[in-house]
Symmetry: C2
Subunit: 361 residues, 2 copies
């Protein structure tokens, strides 16, 4: 995975730094942009550079750039054109990453999460008012970043198509967050409602990333960006399903996850929702009681929950994940055309295969 | 004023309703859009239509439309072309109003303000997490609204110019809010720092409104939108200065303001800041002490403050307001050209004259 995610990491970081530096020109507003740099993992709370930058995986911008490369190859672009389109895609990749991070800043406040990548969340350092405002600023900056693609030769019409897609995607993200908060306050979330929610909250931005990359890479094609849109959608759903599976059945070795971690925090994820709909009535009642109790689940509760989920949800969730991964691979094959042997095709297939591992027993 | 603000009110409201209706298509997310309609003053907290809609003044979208009309006349457009450009400007006017309202939703949370236009603020009805998220959604919707101008014949290049201006303006708004919150935590805000803050927080969006209107109205001109930009900037500064003057010296008759209201709430506005910089040292110390005290100012404190501000700040603030109003009228004259006798020119001049009233002794 490091090969797939690492390939464009320096390009993406330089582009993000260029976007922030372009806005951060006035000493009066320096701490406002400093808060953004803190959230992005570049500086500490005193705005001093971190010895070990704490940037996230940069998955979404990598999806933009790999999709761009794949689409350019699939459309038969020569090497010079491929490089031009990669250069045009960089500001769009930065825009997607900034949208993702603006939503994280606000989600952390909305969900009361105090840690982000192992560091205090922005609102815990500077307070909620500043964090709301800095998130808004990052949202505006994301939109500004995109227009640099036009300066690099993307046509005005294509740029509007992409900006409009990004706007609609942001609205989907907010709808997803609305549904997530509404679900928390409700007792009858069905698997279908949950899948609708993660389609908006997680898959929409991945779909936008691959669509934007595909559109810049193959501007004259409709089929290639459309296939990459399907790919991004399936990948995004699979990505969240994998997260939900690992939140319950992760081995200790798997990064950042502890076994049954989501159960200990009483997170309502796909395996739990499936069990609430399909476990025997007595188990459903006990599961609900454990989740509703004011105290944390005991070790005995956890063992019991693991047993119920193993019997009712594990195989079903793995099958759901496998189906999305298969859909992603199929869409990818459609997008590839003659580029199926390219580095980009291989990288994106490897990404799906990595996510699919959690689908195995 | 009602003639100036009322002229396009129905057009603006229909356009805003069209934008919301276009997004609000799924029963699952209806309450998310219902919250937006509540904030916009169309429905109550149960999403039932209000008998008396509580929309604000709709000043900013009116500025877009009057500026468009003025620019079209100034550029010599015929009546058919003027109507076409008005039609193109409507989505942009809606976008500007939605940006303004998204910022109000978030400002109310950030400032802890519980009332907005005499009704409970969105966050007081649905809680902070929902209000942050609904504000984000309105921000995204503002951006989406703008693209309808392209469907109505605005060129893609012009649309990108306007979108980019709106994005940069949103960043200015956030910078202004950052400076406002930073000033609250500080003891040494100078008049210059305050003017810099209101330039970002208030004037930037008015400037964007008149520039956007001018660009759509006179797409082939650089001089007309540039003059209208200057007009919007001066008008925005004047607008805030008037608000600050009326916050202290309003007669009871003036809408929504009570005499010394800003002093009772210990708001740090231009007259106070000027006095903190220029009153005799003893008065500065006592003013600071009253503002820092944990209790509300007594009637004697208010009488004292009014006396100090009358002596040190009233004339200066009125002169500042008069200067901005004069700058606005000059810029307007430049923008008008042969259209100086038009309805639009008259309306915009009347708006400045209305704001300038507070500059009189």
């Amino acid at each position: 995975m490091q090969r797939v995610l690492g390939r464009f990491q320096d390009d993406i970081l330089s582009e993000l730094r260029r976007v922030l530096a372009g806005a951060d020109a006035d000493p009066l507003t320096r701490p406002f942009y400093g808060q953004m740099a803190y959230h992005l993992g570049w500086v500490d709370a005193q705005f001093q550079p971190l010895a070990q930058p704490a940037t996230g995986k940069l998955l979404r911008p990598a999806l933009v750039l790999w999709s761009c490369q794949l689409a350019a190859r699939a459309a038969g672009a020569d090497a010079v054109t491929q490089r031009q389109r990669h250069h045009q895609a960089l500001p769009a990749a930065a825009a997607v990453e900034l949208v993702h991070n603006f939503s994280l800043i606000h989600d952390d406040i909305e969900d009361g999460d105090r840690l982000r990548h192992g560091r205090p969340a922005l609102w815990c350092v500077w307070g909620e008012p500043q964090a709301i405002n800095t998130g808004d600023g990052m949202f505006a900056l994301a939109r500004l970043a995109l227009w640099e693609s036009v300066a690099r030769g993307l046509s005005a019409k294509k740029a509007i198509t992409l900006a409009s897609l990004l706007d609609a995607t942001c609205l989907r993200l907010c709808e997803g967050q609305y549904r997530d908060m509404a679900a928390e306050a409700s007792d009858d979330v069905t698997p279908d409602l949950y899948l609708d929610m993660i389609a908006r909250k997680t898959a929409a931005l991945m779909r936008a990333a691959t669509t934007i990359g595909g559109t810049i890479g193959a501007p004259a094609s409709k089929a290639i960006p459309a296939a990459l849109a399907q790919f991004g959608q399936a990948l995004g759903l699979a990505f969240q399903m994998r997260d939900d599976l690992l939140g319950i059945w992760a081995a200790h070795s798997e990064l950042g996850k502890s076994p049954a971690g989501d159960l200990r925090r009483k997170k309502v994820t796909l395996p739990v929702i499936h069990a609430l709909a399909h476990a025997p009535a007595a188990d459903r009642a006990r599961l609900r009681a454990i989740y509703r109790a004011s105290e944390a689940p005991s070790d005995a509760d956890i063992a019991y929950l693991l047993d119920v989920l193993e019997q009712t949800s594990h195989a079903w969730c793995r099958a759901q994940l496998a189906a999305q991964c298969a859909a992603a691979q199929t869409a990818l094959t459609h997008a590839c055309g003659p580029a199926s042997g390219s580095d980009a095709a291989e990288a994106l297939r490897a990404l799906v295969a990595y996510i699919a591992i959690a689908a195995r027993a």
